[in-house]
Symmetry: C2
Subunit: 469 residues, 2 copies
């Protein structure tokens, strides 16, 4: 869709000339997020500097029936922060300030574009940090983390993003300001903070976030445990949790990934092992010592920075494994880990594909890496088929078709595998409460499905402002 | 409203003769919850034994435009589980089973009528407990705890009920089954678990709850600290939190309450003190020892059971203080405790009323007890005025008009003090997604206010089933 000169002028009146990108080369930067299968260039990109500007943009786009695609740093892995149908992309990168650090109440108020790691850097010397640590934390934004409900290795102990968001300021798809949650523990009325966290920009735009600050632990200890098979490592995960120990992180890497990391990075992982677990304990030093005893019977100590370098650069070495890959994200209850690892191996064997594994074992959050070569006839199709079987296997074990990455464009079609029609219909009706004209990130999250009504394309005619839906 | 013989017969067909209460004396039991200001007898009480029966009841009542009032154990303090307009009360007391204990995944699936304490009793020998511990835990139900998002002394460390609910099975006001959340950490789509927790039965009926189980701590230590004034004790609360210590519980009792408890129970509290703090530490024994050092400089050890007996029986000794009382529930950010305690004292002095204090200091959750004698002319009016000023003072400090008890009938009128019209309108629209005909617990939670539309009385005409609202 082409935007009218009047609309572009009105956008520029709101954000100023420096806040509007309309050139083809400028817009190209925004054609996709980190899931490069999906591309779509917005017709314009606006970079607001205040919540008031955001509200003005939404009201304008609503009046003109133009889709809005919110974007943080664009590091998402599910095709969520791109514009499949064009429209106006709202980039939050200029709204990147810390508004308030409130140490007595252990919270911070930040703008949505603030880089995740910056908050921990700004609070470290006072003894605090922001706990959710997606691998992208050096570049991803807290608003984007909230919109995708991002996870990370240390979320096993500290919880995922939703557990650290106390309140949100939101401009809904109707152009209204709504305050959700706040600094105090509990508030009257419906608790909508959790609905907005993980909504992937389909309900509105986050313009402010109140997050919990966490005390830095007194000590940290990282343990590497190696196993002859990934099934044995999976059993160990269950045994550790059963012993009442919740490590800060509990990450699994399989044989294929270990070898690739050792060749690419050299982190000191044992090359002959069938799998390794990276186990991190933190907290009071006395507690770490008490917990590491039972774990160390199967482990040896190692150097922390190097161990994490291997894990965090795993994605960088995938190119050594395979010409093409599909990084899946799914979940099983963690007691089912040994079972799903057998199934993953069986699916790989059945389709003659290497499936590598590096994942958040403590959470039961798998990231099977399906390796294929799209120049080999039929291999892409086999990879897609293996992918479908993988998701179905997770669901059959009581799991979920997405873990920490979200739905976006990529998993939309999988939602009917997990939800009844009545659940989908319910979500679609909820979406209309926030976004009556379906202008917010259309085509994302909810599937094209009869239970979802019109599938959330912009409505043919606008509803009068304030209409009761 | 009188129910037709046809409707009563249809209800009996669903729940059987033993599950239907229609006699006047039988219904009298259900005329109020623990807030005895508000009374209203339901026209019938049904006691379903399965989720399918619950869904059949809702569909029947929806068709006939009869209000539904859900009820757990009836221990609420805000007039939520009573029937101001008659209608059908749905009591969950016969749906009180543990459906599954899943220790490897640290969770339990329970029916809504299960008594809170029973779950901890059933899991203790395996080393687990259910952490939310409202003072009513020996009699209140987990479904009721979830519907009011109940707190409790140990929620400071362990979080409130919403932090322990992983998933819910719900029959909405439209008579549909909806699954919210589940055993795995994260799921695709909108996270509606938090919306249902604390919705006080206004969106639907909870028919199943998946809750988190928590490991029993290795050790527990309870410390009593006495202070010359409540302001000094409030400063100590801030100092403890600032030191990076989150006790399991941190409870405040003022001079008036200490005296009443000592006369009534004899818990060994120091009668001359201006205030005491009850501080409980739990966890690994080494951690407790490390944390108690900084606290003990202002404390003396004491016997745990007796200390808690005093705190938990505080409500029982209020009769010694005053002929009548109003127990308020409000919140301030905990850094504002010293300030609000000064204001509470000033409000009491201004209105010539004793205001006693016993509360969850660590959470900033106040329970001022406004003492009055309704036989003394004008005293009730002064108490009500003091109450209004108290809530306004909490809001002015960035707090909330309700803490752990909820809204119900009692706080409805206060909501417009805390929320903008757009927020109220938003909640009303959300309510209609779940409950299109406004049959669920009408007259509760949302105020009669233009922003809430029709104020959620049963609709004049039913909408056709499946209508898009």
């Amino acid at each position: 869709m082409a935007l009218t000169p009047q609309l572009l002028r009105a956008l520029q009146d709101i954000v100023g000339p420096a806040g509007l990108v309309v050139s083809a080369e400028g817009r190209l930067t925004y054609e996709c997020d980190m899931h490069t299968f999906y591309k779509g260039t917005p017709d314009a990109v606006v970079l607001p500097e205040s919540a008031a500007q955001v509200a003005a943009i939404v009201r304008l786009c609503r009046r003109e029936h133009v889709p809005i695609v919110p974007r943080g740093s664009g590091t998402g892995l599910i095709g969520g922060a791109m514009a499949p149908e064009g429209g106006v992309m709202v980039s939050m990168t200029r709204m990147n300030r810390i508004v308030e650090l409130d140490f007595p109440n252990r919270c911070a108020t930040v703008q949505p574009g603030l880089i995740n790691l910056w908050l921990s850097q700004a609070t470290r010397e006072r003894g605090y940090f922001f706990a959710p640590d997606p691998s992208s934390q050096m570049v991803s934004s807290i608003g984007g983390n909230a919109s995708t409900n991002a996870g990370g290795p240390h979320c096993l102990k500290y919880g995922i993003t939703v557990n650290h968001v106390l309140g949100l300021e939101v401009v809904t798809g109707a152009g209204e300001f709504v305050q959700l949650g706040g600094k105090t523990h509990e508030r009257p009325g419906y608790d909508l903070t959790g609905v907005m966290v993980g909504a992937e920009g389909t309900l509105g735009l986050v313009t402010g976030v109140i997050v919990r600050l966490t005390h830095l632990p007194e000590g940290v200890k990282t343990i590497l445990a190696s196993f002859s098979s990934i099934e044995d490592a999976s059993e160990a995960v269950s045994a550790i949790i059963r012993a009442g120990i919740i490590p800060a992180a509990l990450e699994m890497l399989d044989e294929v990934v270990i070898r690739a990391i050792e060749e690419g990075v050299g982190a000191g992982y044992p090359k002959g092992a069938g799998a390794v677990l990276l186990i991190e304990l933190d907290g009071p030093i006395a507690e770490i010592e008490a917990q590491s005893g039972p774990i160390e019977t199967i482990c040896r100590d190692a150097e922390r920075a190097l161990l994490w370098k291997g894990r965090k650069e795993a994605a960088g070495v995938f190119g050594r494994l395979t010409p093409n890959w599909l990084l899946q994200d799914a979940v099983v209850p963690r007691s089912k880990l040994p079972q799903i690892m057998k199934e993953v191996a069986a699916i790989g064997a059945r389709h003659h594909l290497v499936i590598a594994n590096v994942f958040h074992a403590g959470d039961g959050n798998l990231h099977p890496l399906i390796c294929y070569d799209d120049r080999a006839p039929g291999e892409l199709e086999r990879a897609k088929q293996a992918n479908e079987e993988l998701l179905a296997a997770c669901l059959a074990l009581g799991g979920s078709v997405t873990g920490e990455h979200g739905v976006g464009l990529d998993k939309r079609a999988s939602l009917p595998m997990q939800f009844a029609d009545s659940d989908l219909n319910f979500m679609a009706r909820l979406r209309r409460v926030f976004d009556p004209d379906s202008i917010m990130n259309p085509g994302k999250l909810l599937p094209s499905h009869p239970a979802c009504g019109e599938g959330f394309r912009p409505a043919a005619r606008p509803l009068p402002a304030g209409t009761w839906i």
